[in-house]
């Protein structure tokens, strides 16, 4: 067993940290107050290769492993949750699903420009009346010859107004029994006739990000844009969530670290009763807990990442990492505000933003309650993961880093 990060991992972490601290941190409060996304962020993340970090070079990516993705997400959310949300939808929920389930032609058409950052990607599962209860979704896809006609409304979609490509789950058989057998996945592009998008304002947190809705009215989606087989949509969505939740868990770990680092700094600066508050035992207890939460969350994320690298099914382990890291990020943010006292209650310090941002992640990509049910199901033997038709490929540095032209014929 080896707990050490490689030199490559450390350099990636430093690079993403430098980008987030130098280019995002100085103005994040302003964008958060304006409830707008800084328009320079997505092009800059694309330019730096972050949007394709763990996609093989042959598909336009940077050829790094799944641990690198987690480290990048941790550093991004250390500065602001909105940065990590980009990775969750563009990479975790969409690009990795294309990599896992797409045909070679689909990878060339959609994954390559996404990994290069020329196109941004989002994931459309949730609807106004279907969140945790996925089977209740109402969007429909009716086949007519070589096209599907999509209708429906998707809600709480990150990058709704920024993305060019949407991975949409809709019902091709609304009467299927069980209902999830009637779902199919499609790649819908924002320029298709009948696609409308908009942003949602007035959110508690993640205010410097884009969260919105996508409405489809008689959108003609060609057959070649169907991802996987008809009826496979639920499995594609769930496997996409294995990757999305991984990025959320890694990001929440970064949020815990943000709370911890800011609190440690403040503890040494602020004095009460004649001594720095770092000397007060009840403050020390909060710091100790935050450190414990960070260490445990980080290790859970690394285990999930190690399993992804090894090509092992990690639905349970990723769910555990996501549940624990996001729940603890809320706790860490509450404690960070408490340590900062009245200053923590104002936006003069960052911790109030951490608290607002932490709350979303215990709701999206499986509420904490859903993850508890999953964990209980595994422990009690009521739930097991069956092999998928397309598993997420194990990380192979040679395959990942080779240019397409370097691959021998027959590979």
């Amino acid at each position: 067993m080896d707990f050490a990060l490689t030199e490559e991992h450390k350099m990636i972490r430093q690079m993403v940290r430098d980008f987030a601290m130098k280019e995002v941190y100085p103005t994040i409060k302003e964008w958060d107050r304006r409830q707008e996304m800084n328009p320079e962020i997505l092009p800059r993340m694309a330019e730096l290769g972050i949007l394709g970090i763990n996609i093989p070079v042959r598909y336009g990516g940077q050829g790094m492993d799944y641990i690198s993705l987690a480290l990048a997400c941790e550093e991004l959310e250390r500065v602001d949750t909105t940065l990590r949300v980009i990775m969750s939808v563009h990479m975790g929920l969409n690009s990795m699903a294309l990599f896992q389930w797409g045909t070679e032609e689909q990878k060339q058409r959609f994954l390559v420009p996404q990994a290069r950052g020329e196109k941004y990607a989002a994931f459309c599962l949730t609807e106004p009346n279907a969140g945790s209860d996925v089977a209740a979704l109402q969007a429909t896809a009716r086949r007519e010859g070589d096209v599907y006609i999509l209708n429906g409304e998707k809600m709480w979609i990150s990058l709704a107004t920024k993305a060019h490509h949407f991975l949409v789950i809709a019902k091709t058989d609304p009467h299927a029994d069980p209902p999830h057998h009637g779902m199919t996945a499609f790649i819908v592009t924002s320029d298709m006739r009948g696609v409308k998008t908009g942003d949602i304002h007035g959110k508690l947190g993640v205010r410097a990000g884009s969260t919105g809705w996508v409405v489809m009215e008689n959108v003609e989606v060609p057959l070649e844009n169907r991802l996987g087989e008809e009826g496979e949509g639920f499995y594609i969505a769930m496997s996409a969530l294995d990757n999305g939740r991984y990025t959320v868990a890694a990001g929440a770990t970064g949020l815990i670290r943000a709370c911890l680092e800011d609190s440690i700094k403040y503890c040494h600066e602020r004095s009460t009763f004649g001594k720095p508050i770092a000397k007060h035992q009840l403050v020390q207890q909060k710091i100790a807990y935050m450190q414990q939460w960070y260490d445990a969350a980080f290790l859970l994320v690394m285990r999930a990442g190690w399993m992804k690298n090894a090509g092992l099914r990690n639905t349970r382990e990723t769910s555990m990492a996501k549940w624990y890291a996001t729940d603890m990020s809320v706790q860490a943010a509450l404690e960070a505000v408490q340590i900062h006292g009245a200053y923590g209650f104002s936006d003069e310090y960052d911790v109030e933003r951490y608290l607002r941002n932490s709350k979303g992640a215990v709701i999206y990509e499986g509420t904490s309650e859903i993850h508890q049910l999953m964990q209980a199901g595994y422990a009690l033997g009521l739930r097991e993961d069956r092999p998928l038709r397309c598993e997420l490929p194990a990380y192979d540095p040679e395959y990942w880093q080779a240019e397409a032209s370097e691959i021998a014929v027959g590979d």
């Binding site: 490689t6 490559e8 350099m11 690079m15 430098d18 980008f19 730096l48 970090i53 050829g63 880093q401």
Partner: protein, 258 residues
């Protein structure tokens, strides 16, 4: 067309440095000398524009390898570290002798780029000493590279001097000391990180360079912490922003801040 860019690892500018028994100590990791983020990027920009080769060099023990790897990750082609136990406690002239010998050993270098100074020691004399030992022209405080023609052996730069901006042309080979205005620092690329992580950095000792360490002309005897500043807070109050501003301006003039 071979460019050398020189770097070193320095304590992070945010590091909390304390002095214990005359020796400075800090917990934070070392980083690439902040001024070198600009010089290294400029070297890589020139490499791309002129299809030149860039070698990044440092003189010092293994703690400088991370700065060299950072350079490789940003786009330098090769890295070389110069070190020998005989150089422990070296002064800037000994440093420059070792560096100049290493640059001469490369054989085909026509441009050497330094950041403005070493952020930890605040020194820049090594730039001029290296140039002198190499017999290269030296151009310090360079804020803009206007033109570079390896074929014709000429370079034209803009220097920031007391009188304003000074445009200077020079023959190559040359040594440059560059300021922040020269370029926007780049982050390492992922492909660069992969290359840097795998790199084994060669170490050239004095015997490889065919020189002796010599003895330092200047020796650092000890360090001590600067006296702690005592801050006082005074709130300027008034009926209107104008009144507050006027009172503040008066106070600043009175205290000779302005």
């Amino acid at each position: 067309m071979h460019i050398v860019v020189v770097t070193k690892a320095t304590p992070d500018t945010g590091a909390k440095i304390t002095v214990e028994n005359g020796v400075p100590t800090w917990k934070e990791a070392m980083v690439i000398n902040p001024w070198d983020e600009y010089s290294v990027t400029e070297a890589v920009v020139l490499k791309e524009e002129h299809k030149a080769k860039v070698t990044i060099m440092a003189v010092g023990p293994a703690e400088h390898d991370d700065a060299l790897k950072q350079g490789l990750a940003i786009g330098c082609d090769e890295a070389i570290r110069v070190w020998d136990e005989a150089l422990v406690g070296h002064d800037s002239l000994q440093y420059a002798r070792a560096l100049a010998a290493a640059i001469k050993k490369l054989g085909d270098v026509t441009l050497v780029i330094f950041g403005k100074e070493f952020a930890d020691s605040g020194s820049n004399q090594h730039i001029y000493q290296t140039a002198r030992l190499l017999g290269f022209q030296v151009l310090g405080s360079v804020s803009k590279l206007i033109s570079l023609d390896f074929g014709a052996g000429t370079i034209k730069v803009e220097r920031s001097v007391e009188q304003g901006k000074q445009t200077v042309s020079s023959k190559l080979p040359a040594v440059l000391g560059v300021l922040k205005d020269i370029t926007e620092p780049r982050y390492p690329s992922f492909i660069g990180i992969r290359k840097a992580a795998k790199a084994q950095i060669p170490v050239w000792g004095l015997s490889d360079l065919g020189i002796e360490a010599g003895t330092p002309k200047a020796t650092i005897l000890s360090y001590s912490e600067p006296p702690k500043r005592e801050g006082e807070v005074e709130f300027i109050e008034g009926e209107s922003p104008r009144e507050i501003a006027e009172k503040l301006a008066e106070k600043l003039l009175e205290e000779k801040v302005l």
